[in-house]
């Protein structure tokens, strides 16, 4: 156990409340941000699995159209007949894959888990500003999850209008074939929105009000910065979505016609509302990942983040510009082309802060002392994959090129390079990096490396060819591409992608196994296995209730690695200047 602050014998009191004793209050209805973060972690990993299975079903149909789906005997005849996936079920799988991955996997993994877990620890606080609200935020997400899963079991099946749910298709059951499922989809997301809002309120308040002495805003780690700014995006964007969802629900149930053209409404209104939320949403899905990557690359390079202030400004710039680019999802929608031109301008500009971040990460690695442990591998992969995803975005940002590429697999490639190549790799790294802190054990480095390399291989094999079939003109959400003559030559590529995708999904079992196995058999973790600087590493692994035995004082920024005059290559934020430090064990693995 390593701590540089004098230990106190008495249990923590300055935290404001004593630790509850019953199992129910400690682990189920806990107000401890760390437990809540872990609860989100388990829930989200489960949904990641569900989303992955849905992707497997889709890819099966695309790779082997009309071939019986293995092990589908248990699925009802409304979905699969004699193993043959029905088109309406395929559309539902497409929809639910996107919905579950965005709302129930990636977003809660990035925000629900890590904002909850990291923010108080990294700013030196004992817990969130509103612990009970925090608990409510998790327990609101749970029923939302159940409702979303329930949609699979109702007559008519689950929502099948895309995760973007464009009306009139989504509003009128006669057209989509889905009635109750679509309503459940809407209700689930309305409820989930409240969960997110509660979280956002907490994160923002906590960062503003509860930073330890010496923890100025510009000494906060970039993980906290990115989560802080993300929370603002959540706070402002989710209400728009909630409003739009309610309007759509009303159109479906009580006869309003916000979006129903047959009754004077405007389908484009939905698109504006949805994407006004939807674009900040995708930055919600990437900014925290960028924050984690910064932490890991700095620690893995034993070097300060290059351009810390620029990085903060870049995060803020992305957050701000994210509000004025939404129309780039609507270039071909029938929106006024002049508006399209304006959105092209803003969309092009938003590439710049992302580029700045990439260069700063590279500059961090430059002349560093690179330890390629599993988190570092994943973080560096993030940079490489995010570059591809970002660059492919430039193509579709150009409105004339988008005429052709819109709604093709080129876009599917783009979004998966940023969401999987980006966010998910960052999450693999982040989970591995903070796992010791959460569970007091190290994940297996060997399994982690195998998982990483196989995932890298199969991920690129799955998604890179999608650029090509998209350029070839393959549309999105298309049950059987062979119906179009010009897509028939793509069948071998689609099969290749399917095989790679199925192997990719199978590879995740390694991560799942590592995650579970290490909890019981992983090497016991010390407080600071990565020899990093931020405050979460000065407390035991896992931290006690209340986190810090006494309030920490912060004397420097979070990236003082490899100081020239120091024997140690790291200097935690709370070490007073001039205090001699005992030498410590080397960075784990490498």
């Amino acid at each position: 156990m390593q701590s540089t602050a004098p230990m106190m014998d008495a249990p923590l009191h300055w935290a404001g409340h004593d630790e509850p004793q019953s199992f129910l209050r400690r682990y189920i209805f806990s107000t401890d941000h760390k437990i809540i973060g872990i609860q989100f972690l388990f829930m989200s990993l489960f949904f990641l699995l569900v989303g992955g299975i849905l992707a497997g079903i889709m890819r099966w149909q695309l790779g082997y159209p009309g071939q019986p789906l293995p092990a589908s005997g248990m699925l009802p005849e409304t979905m699969v007949v004699d193993g043959i996936i029905l088109p309406e079920f395929y559309n539902s799988a497409v929809t639910m894959h996107g919905t579950i991955m965005v709302f129930f996997a990636i977003m809660p993994l990035l925000v629900g888990v890590f904002a909850n877990y990291l923010i108080p620890l990294q700013i030196g606080a004992p817990d969130m500003a509103f612990p009970k609200l925090n608990m409510l935020s998790f327990w609101t997400a749970v029923p939302a999850g159940f409702i979303m899963l329930a949609g699979f079991f109702v007559p008519g099946g689950h929502a099948a209008a895309g995760w973007t749910s464009y009306p009139p298709l989504s509003a009128i059951p006669e057209y989509s074939g889905v009635d109750l499922g679509q309503r459940l989809w809407l209700i689930s997301l309305i409820i989930l929105g409240f969960s997110s809002l509660m979280g956002a309120v907490n994160y923002i308040t906590t960062v503003i009000n509860m930073r330890a002495p010496g923890m100025s805003l510009f000494r906060m780690p970039l993980a906290t910065w990115s989560l802080f700014i993300t929370a603002h995006l959540v706070l402002l964007a989710i209400p728009i979505l909630t409003g739009a969802l309610i309007m759509l629900l009303f159109d479906q149930t009580i006869g309003t016609s916000f979006f129903r053209a047959d009754q004077g409404g405007s389908p484009l209104l939905w698109q504006h509302l949805f994407w006004f939320f939807g674009h900040p949403e995708v930055y919600i899905l990437i900014l925290p990942a960028m924050g984690f990557v910064s932490e890991i690359i700095a620690a893995g390079s034993r070097k300060p983040i290059f351009g810390y202030h620029a990085m903060v400004i870049a995060i803020a710039a992305i957050g701000f510009l994210g509000w004025i680019v939404w129309g780039h999802h609507m270039f071909q929608s029938g929106m006024n082309p002049a508006l399209g031109a304006a959105f092209m301008g803003t969309t092009m500009v938003i590439a710049v802060p992302s580029a700045i971040k990439v260069f700063n990460w590279l500059a961090t690695m430059w002349r560093g002392d690179l330890h390629f442990h599993v988190p570092m591998l994943n973080a560096v992969a993030f940079v490489a994959m995010f570059v591809i995803g970002g660059l492919s975005g430039v193509f579709v940002a150009s409105t004339p090129v988008d005429i052709y590429l819109h709604d093709t697999y080129f876009v599917v490639a783009h979004i998966h390079y940023v969401l999987f190549g980006g966010s998910l790799f960052a999450l693999f790294g982040a989970i591995t990096f903070w796992y010791p802190k959460m569970f007091g054990r190290m994940m297996s480095e060997g399994l982690g490396k195998v998982h990483f390399w196989l995932t890298m291989l199969f991920f690129n094999a799955t998604f890179f060819p999608m650029h090509q079939v998209g350029i070839g003109g393959m549309m999105r959400r298309i049950y059987d591409p062979l119906q179009y003559e010009y897509m028939q030559p793509m069948a071998p590529t689609n099969r290749f992608i399917t095989i790679a995708a199925l192997l990719l999904i199978a590879t995740q079992l390694i991560f799942a196994f590592n995650f579970i196995w290490s909890m019981f058999r992983g090497a016991k973790a010390e407080a600071n296995p990565w020899r990093a600087n931020s405050l979460e590493w000065v407390v035991p692994s896992p931290p006690p209730h209340g986190n810090f035995t006494e309030m920490p004082h912060v004397y420097r920024g979070p990236y003082e690695y490899s100081l020239p005059d120091e024997a140690e290559d790291y200097m935690p934020q709370n070490v007073p200047p001039g205090v001699p430090r005992p030498s410590s064990t080397p960075v784990h693995a490498g």
């Binding site: 043959i84 088109p87 309406e88 007559p155 109750l180 209700i187 309305i190 479906q252 049950y479 119906q483």
Partner: protein, 284 residues
Amino acid sequence: MLLRKYVPTLVLSLFTLAACGGGDADTGGTDAPDADAYTVPAGEAAVITGVVNFEGTAPAPEPIDMSEEPTCAEKHDEGPVRRPVVANENGTLRNVFVYVREGLGDRTFAATSDDRVMDQDGCEYQPHVMGVQTGQQVTFRNSDGLLHNINAQGSTNRSFNISQPQNMETERAFSQQEIMIPVRCDVHGWMEAYIGVVDHPYFAVTGEDGSFRLENLPPGDYTIEAWHEEYGTQTAQVTVAAQQTGETSFTFNDTMTGAFVPLGAPLDPHDHGRVAAAPARGTR
């Protein structure tokens, strides 16, 4: 606190909205108890036969442009047509659904285990008009090997819309009596068929000779109804004694276009006789 007050109300109203809308008829498939099923005592069975005549000239068949579906177009040697009225050469009318509307009392009848096949062949439903008993399995078959969907728009029965992207068969059953359920394909807009669901076995569809035969009836007074997709419905009264064959006939003529054609309206057991002509309602 405020949140605690409003959250339950909010959640409850959301659930109420979920429950709104979407009427719920039974799923297909019945579990009618066979113990009470009526069987006609031996030596008592009666028969009702008859013909459905047609006077006048049937409207000319409308050609269907199937050129975008060559697989189907090629199956029609003479060019596919839409023929809502099929007059037989002997002056009778085809595709008329005839059934016992009244007279069976409270008897319930055993479900049959035969299945009926509605085929999609040449982008047309075969047969065009079909009768089944409640609970009887209907096999929808796709013989064309291209995407069809079976959009059965029941009113009393739960409607369903199932796709068949290739050669395959799907089974469904109807649990409620309904005259008639229109069936359409969304991919091929010209495809239409009608299914009559009756909760007893006494129904028939007239064929090439315009005749129908209802066998194994218990003796009694019956109201027989004939339904045609263009010309509406007619009823006739027939009384049969044991081992007797009763005869009746219906006559439709070409001026009856525009008659009220009920689709899926639930039967009113107190309604006797001819359905009065209501304002013309399209069959689409």
